[in-house]
Symmetry: C2
Subunit: 250 residues, 2 copies
């Protein structure tokens, strides 16, 4: 049995809490959250004073914003325990020095009211020593089939790559929605294309999956498209078109 | 029974051929392709001389590149028949004047060896008269639950929006793969994130689904990320970050 305290009840914290609670072999002792809501007030595990956190857990998971990791982890009322964060963007060193440091980074996008299947989520773990690394690996394996030991410098790259396929892809969805809404066309017309574009990547490399006017070098269509766009949309169109075309040359 | 001749056996043509062949109520009379391959040579329906195309079909579907539509459709050995193209980027008028014009545009990305489920693919139809529009709508309904009448000017916008969510999204996958490969990290680590980013869009608008450093205005992470990227990757990072951030202001 691995005993856990979760620090923070945002998107990541609340999803971790849910999956840990239903997983045999994991026991959540407490959840620290500054603001206990109506929803959570009935739950005996909720703690709103950081000084009330038990020193008896195997691991403390700080699921808070990158800029809050140091602050929260340095206020814990004990030392020499394993305290980890869940961030793709923060280094191992961002945890306070008063405890043993680690990282437990679930590589996924979490929204509060959208359930996720942890079983397929890559859990990236890091720790200062073998014993802690092994505990984090075990904890990850209880909720996911995919646990990888990833160093801080590797995780940095992984995180920036994740920004491209998540935040930036979502911004392209947003621009596309803007274009359709302006024409009173329903964005849901693109839903099957959006899904297939993502699904293809399981079978084909991005290089092989690419199609369209930039790839074909179809200048007429590219010119026609640019005339339909706002100045800002044009900039994105041009940059990504030239990014695709540079691959054709090289 | 709707009788069809398919002109062209590229990605779109071959997928249409496959789905038409297995759909009751549709009969493919012929498929025109200049180069008959080993694979297709056993099939009696294949025709490599455009003069051999039967004048007896209800509809002729030119599934060829935008720049080939006029050429192919103007060589057909008959007049006054319904001849349509399958392109998002070409106008109704791009079909030859010698026959009745129309469009039968399946809004999806097709790769030769990846099966697709036509049932969910939006089919966008357009024609010069009601009777032809009704025939194309019926044909679409036999293979898909989603048939929409879309004008040429609407289809233009739809097509450019499709380029954003398909070609440009795929380019972001490619950049992200580049970043990971350089670090000897496996691109498949991002597969669940890629899928979830696409799936979210069925439940959440892009505005609500957005997360990450640009949305949060997390300058430290943005600076850290840019240092990890090549000059070209930085340009894309900056432009899409500022595109996200401009939404926060307005």
């Amino acid at each position: 049995m691995i005993t856990v305290v979760i620090l923070g009840l945002g998107n990541v914290g609340s999803h971790l809490f849910k999956v840990f609670e239903k997983t045999p072999g994991i026991k959540v002792l407490q959840v620290y959250t500054r603001s206990i809501s109506k929803e959570t007030s009935q739950n005996q595990k909720m703690v709103s004073n950081i000084k009330d956190i038990t020193p008896l857990a195997d691991v403390y998971i700080a699921a808070v914003g990158d800029d809050k990791i140091k602050q929260i982890t340095s206020q814990l009322p004990f030392t020499q325990k394993l305290v980890v964060h869940t961030s793709g963007g923060a280094a191992l060193e961002d945890c306070s020095d008063s405890n043993r440091k680690g990282v437990f980074y679930p590589l996924q996008t979490f929204s509060k009211n959208k359930a996720v299947d942890f079983n397929t989520i890559p859990i990236c773990v890091e720790a200062e020593n073998e014993k802690d690394l092994s505990l984090l690996t075990n904890l990850g394996s209880l909720i996911s089939q995919s646990v990888s030991v990833i160093s801080s410098s590797e995780r940095e790259k992984l995180h920036v790559a994740a920004v491209f396929v998540n935040n930036f892809v979502n911004e392209l969805y947003h621009i596309s929605e803007d274009i359709l809404t302006q024409q009173q066309l329903d964005f849901s017309l693109l839903a099957p294309l959006i899904k297939e574009t993502a699904n293809k990547i399981e079978y084909l490399t991005p290089a092989v999956a690419q199609t369209g006017p930039a790839k074909r070098g179809d200048k007429n269509t590219i010119l026609k498209h640019q005339k339909l766009l706002s100045k800002q949309q044009q900039e994105v169109y041009q940059l990504l078109t030239s990014s695709i075309q540079k691959r054709n040359i090289s």
